[in-house]
């Protein structure tokens, strides 16, 4: 079950992503060559200079002005009218009793999998929290740089999708009288699936909407038997131009197919309004022929031309299937074609139609695909294999190291030494369609000199397929940290910490100018208590420091031991705890 299953809701509004961008340039990590102007905004007309577009970023990620726009009940009926169900118009918000979640790049040299950490999600009605839960950290995927045709270049033109689960849920719906919320709780009390697509991001620091963009999402039931960050469903790959990936789920009992096109179509301005600018007559069909000689059973037109469809339905659409179609859809791949109106009213075989999306019938995906590892640590990648959306047992997935996925020099070299990650070259799915790949980290031994650790990419594919034939967005990104000599961890001096602290002071000016200048020993010493508090938090805690989550385990221990020394908690020479 996922956000595409019933009982599901759609919500839309805005988001804020407020990362500090001084660290967008890997060379800014080099303390020896760092210059104060790297903390300034871009030079006019010259993006990617100085501190890039948001040097004073807080790191926050927030849900803003998001409201529930529609619900689909367990039985497939739907409403977007608040008179039918009080849930319509309720707010979907992040925390109001702790700091905001954080937007976090894995690494300066892998900025394509930005994660949200430590965010709370709430459904709120007139100041009352009806549902609160923790958003499990997740990276975006399906980054599409050419989404909004009316915006010139850069992140503003792009889109990406986040999918995750909400856990640690508190329900407080007794007073709400919402049939939908009752159904959602009954269906999936402990965990919910949530997806949202973000786009039209504002990078102009003189604008009121700076760091804010558009968000459209869905929430639905979840299950521990299914992945957290992807859908076991029908994977639609773009074959035509100007479109991006889509996903669909077939509900056998409701005889429906629900498709998420939130990240699939282009937008632009139409009469001053932001609308889908797709001109093709997109029609969902089942290809009951072959890839070479297709034959279509048409399901229906995709209704993206209805004004406001995207924000009202969060880019999703549901089709009813006849009994026959349900049988066919479980046997044959889906396709989305450009159905020509020149054949009026005849939804019959038409060899002239152009395919715009095709289903990747046999599919493998890593659920979580972003990892941080200290030397000697292990992580487990959970793979899922599907065939026409159903789990597929006994499928071999091949895995390769792929250093070419990241930037080339002059930035520091990536992906070496290859020996610092060890993993099997293939895994086979079990009866539940899953396979686990264990990755063990070694010590990269500081190949990037002024940036801690090294980044690695692992690509994968089903046996008989190629990585380039799959969805290349979902390759595995790893950051493996360097180790620190044990004696420095045990008994650190300020000189041992200073380069790391200097780097944070350089890269996060809002913190170093406004709160703590970590580069200065007296500041660190005088604030040892609060610094120990934030440096010892779990990574999932929104107060965790550094917000960038790029501090190695060894350096974290070294900093904490130093702070304990200042606070008089331990004597590192004798290793004794001072009472």
């Amino acid at each position: 079950m996922s956000y595409l299953n019933t009982p599901r809701l759609t919500f839309s509004g805005k988001f804020q992503a407020d990362p500090s961008t001084v660290n967008n340039d890997p060379n800014h990590f080099n303390n020896a060559t760092f210059r104060p102007e790297f903390q300034d905004y871009n030079l006019p007309g010259n993006p990617g200079t100085n501190g890039w577009w948001n040097p004073d970023g807080t790191g926050n990620f927030r849900l803003i002005d998001c409201v529930v726009t529609s619900v689909t009940y367990q039985d497939g009926t739907t409403t977007s009218n608040p008179e039918d169900d009080a849930i319509i118009g309720m707010s979907v918000m992040d925390a109001d009793g702790r700091v905001a979640g954080k937007i976090v790049d894995l690494d300066s040299q892998q900025q394509g999998v930005s994660e949200i950490w430590g965010m709370q999600v709430r459904i709120v009605d007139d100041g009352n929290d009806l549902m609160t839960g923790d958003y499990k950290e997740a990276a975006f995927t399906n980054l599409w740089l050419n989404r909004s045709t009316d915006i010139k270049g850069g992140a503003g033109k792009a889109t990406a999708s986040y999918q995750s689960v909400i856990t640690n849920i508190n329900w407080n719906i007794e007073q709400s009288n919402s049939r939908y919320l009752q159904e959602l709780k009954d269906a999936s009390k402990d965990m919910l699936s949530i997806q949202f697509t973000v786009d039209r991001y504002n990078l102009d620091h003189t604008s009121a909407e700076f760091t804010i963009g558009r968000l459209a999402g869905s929430i639905g039931p979840s299950s521990t038997l299914e992945p957290n960050h992807c859908v076991l469903g029908r994977q639609m790959f773009p074959v035509g131009s100007n479109c991006n990936y889509a996903t669909a789920v077939v509900d056998d009992s409701l005889k429906t197919i629900t498709m998420d096109l939130s990240n699939a179509l282009q937008f632009g301005k139409v009469n001053g309004k932001v609308e889908v600018v797709e001109t093709r007559n997109l029609t969902l069909a089942i290809n009951i022929g072959t890839a070479e000689v297709p034959e279509y059973d048409y399901i229906g037109k995709i209704n993206y031309r209805v004004p406001g469809w995207y924000m009202q339905q969060s880019g999703s659409c549901t089709f009813n299937l006849s009994k026959e179609q349900l049988d066919l859809v479980n046997k044959y791949p889906l396709t989305i074609v450009d159905y020509q109106a020149s054949n009026p009213n005849t939804l019959t075989l038409d060899p002239t139609v152009t395919q715009v999306f095709n289903e990747s019938a046999e599919y493998a995906i890593a659920d979580k695909f972003v990892f941080r590892l200290n030397p000697k640590e292990q992580c487990a990648v959970n793979f899922y294999a599907t065939e026409l959306g159903k789990i597929a047992a006994n499928k071999t997935i091949e895995i390769q190291q792929a250093p070419y996925m990241f930037d080339d020099p002059p930035v520091p070299v990536t992906g070496v030494p290859t020996s610092a990650i060890q993993n099997a070259s293939q895994v086979v799915t079990n009866e539940y369609g899953t396979a686990v790949l264990e990755i063990t980290a070694g010590d990269p031994d500081n190949p990037r000199e002024f940036i801690d650790g090294q980044i690695y990419a692992l690509t994968y594919n089903l046996e008989g397929q190629s990585f380039s034939g799959g969805n290349q967005n979902n390759f595995i990104s790893l950051l493996v940290f360097d180790s620190v000599k044990q004696e420095k961890i045990d008994c650190p001096t300020w000189e041992d910490l200073q380069p790391t602290m200097q780097q944070y002071a350089n890269l996060y000016p809002l913190m170093s100018k406004g709160v703590f200048n970590l580069a200065k020993q007296e500041v660190v010493d005088n604030n040892a208590k609060i610094l120990k508090f934030v440096f010892s938090k779990e990574k999932t805690d929104p107060n965790y420091m550094p917000a960038t989550r790029d501090l190695s385990g060894d350096k974290q221990k070294m900093i904490l031991n130093y702070l304990d020394g200042i606070l008089g908690v331990i004597d590192c020479e004798t290793k004794e705890t001072i009472a």
């Binding site: 004073d56 977007s80 608040p82 319509i88 118009g89 700091v99 100041g127």
Partner: protein, 377 residues
């Protein structure tokens, strides 16, 4: 000297009301003090900033003490209602209407003298003995110190009466006490569970705020272990800033002990203090201005801070950790506002307004629009 409206305490309910008022009063000084301190960031006025910061820290302590006290006597502190934050500019909660008007303003020596010192001024500065036990029932107006002494006196009376009936007014759940030694030393913030601990706690508030009747310096017993002794009470700390000199103990020719602002210099350089327009309001900024956006973010974080404190003092004391994070968050947004031009006042920058924003970000118009939306599939 700030004067509060005299209050009647004759029942446990009215005692709880008075302590709730104390919580509101302790909170109310924090936004003006914090704002003045925000405007000193990176201006080279670190010494002054440290002094104001130390006062703010103690106001937070006093707020926590008052919350512990209210919990101890079976009340429930309220910190997250719109009316909890006073209007700035305006009188402090419980203050007499014709009394002191407190603004949200950038740091200036005039602000220190006219407002902050006035807030903290004891009834009789230094050498005139303050008679704490003086009868004040008939007075219309009382000082903050008198207000707290009145709480002590009436609390004693109520507890005595309760004990005569083998009862106590300290009926609160002990697990609600925030006394984990984490952010305030245990000598300063401890569990309140009887008359002794309650009186001791209130005396910390009075002493740190006003000083004892004979000594402008805080009683050594009321200092935390990390605090450098001796430390003057709030009024005298502000006066140090105003005079630009540390307060020191001196002996005059007749060997009588006295005090004088003749210690080390406390330098002030106004050149880098941002030119914040007084008493900013979120809704004064055009909604399409960065000032409005950042003001909203500030207020949202400030409201979140009050929410987290409310939870902290309503049964979940460990939530104070979340509040700590938010205290830093509001600082970051305040600093952002202080570099954002004030769209209505050329030459000025925007500033923090400390307003309560409701749980939902939508405007009334947006809500109405949405509710009138007809189903469309």
């Amino acid at each position: 000297m700030i004067l509060l409206k005299n209050i009647q305490i004759n029942s446990i309910e009215s005692l709880r009301d008075a302590v709730q008022k104390a919580i509101e009063l302790e909170h109310a000084t924090i936004p003006p003090y914090l704002t003045a301190n925000f405007t000193l960031t990176n201006t080279g006025n670190d010494e002054i900033s440290k002094l104001i910061g130390s006062v703010v820290g103690e106001e937070m302590l006093h707020l926590s003490i008052a919350c512990n006290l209210l919990n101890a006597i079976g009340g429930s502190p309220v910190l997250n209602k719109p009316g909890f934050i006073p209007e700035y500019p305006g009188p402090l909660p419980g203050g007499v209407e014709e009394g002191l008007i407190v603004p949200i303003a950038k740091f200036s020596k005039q602000l220190i003298k006219d407002k902050f010192m006035a807030i903290e001024k004891p009834e009789d500065p230094i050498d005139i003995k303050l008679m704490r036990t003086a009868a004040f029932e008939e007075k219309k107006e009382i000082t903050i110190g008198e207000f707290y002494n009145k709480i002590i006196a009436n609390m004693k009376a109520l507890e005595e009466r309760a004990q005569e009936n083998c009862n106590t007014i300290f009926t609160g759940d002990p697990s609600y006490q925030m006394a984990n030694g984490k952010w305030f030393p245990e000598q300063e913030l401890f569990a309140i569970n009887d008359l002794d601990s309650a009186e001791k706690a209130i005396n910390i508030i009075i002493d740190q705020g006003e000083g004892t009747s004979m000594d402008p310096f805080v009683n050594l017993d009321d200092l935390g272990p990390g605090e450098a002794a001796p430390e003057p009470a709030h009024y005298y700390r502000f006066e140090e800033i105003y005079k630009g000199k540390k307060l020191v103990k001196v002996k005059d020719s007749s060997t009588k002990v006295g005090y004088s602002y003749s210690g080390a210099d406390i330098p002030y350089d106004p050149s880098k203090v941002p030119n914040m327009k007084e008493n900013p309001k979120m809704n004064d900024y055009p909604v399409d201005s960065p000032a409005y956006t950042n003001s909203k973010f500030f207020n949202y974080n400030y409201t979140s801070l009050l929410n987290s404190l409310h939870i902290t003092f309503n049964g979940k004391p460990d939530t104070i950790d979340k509040a700590m994070g938010l205290m830093f968050a509001i600082r970051l947004y305040a600093l952002r506002l202080l570099t954002t031009p004030d769209p209505n006042n050329p030459g000025y920058v925007a500033g923090p307004s400390f307003e309560y924003v409701t749980d939902e970000d939508l405007t009334k118009e947006e809500k109405t629009m949405l509710k009138s939306h007809k189903p469309g599939r």
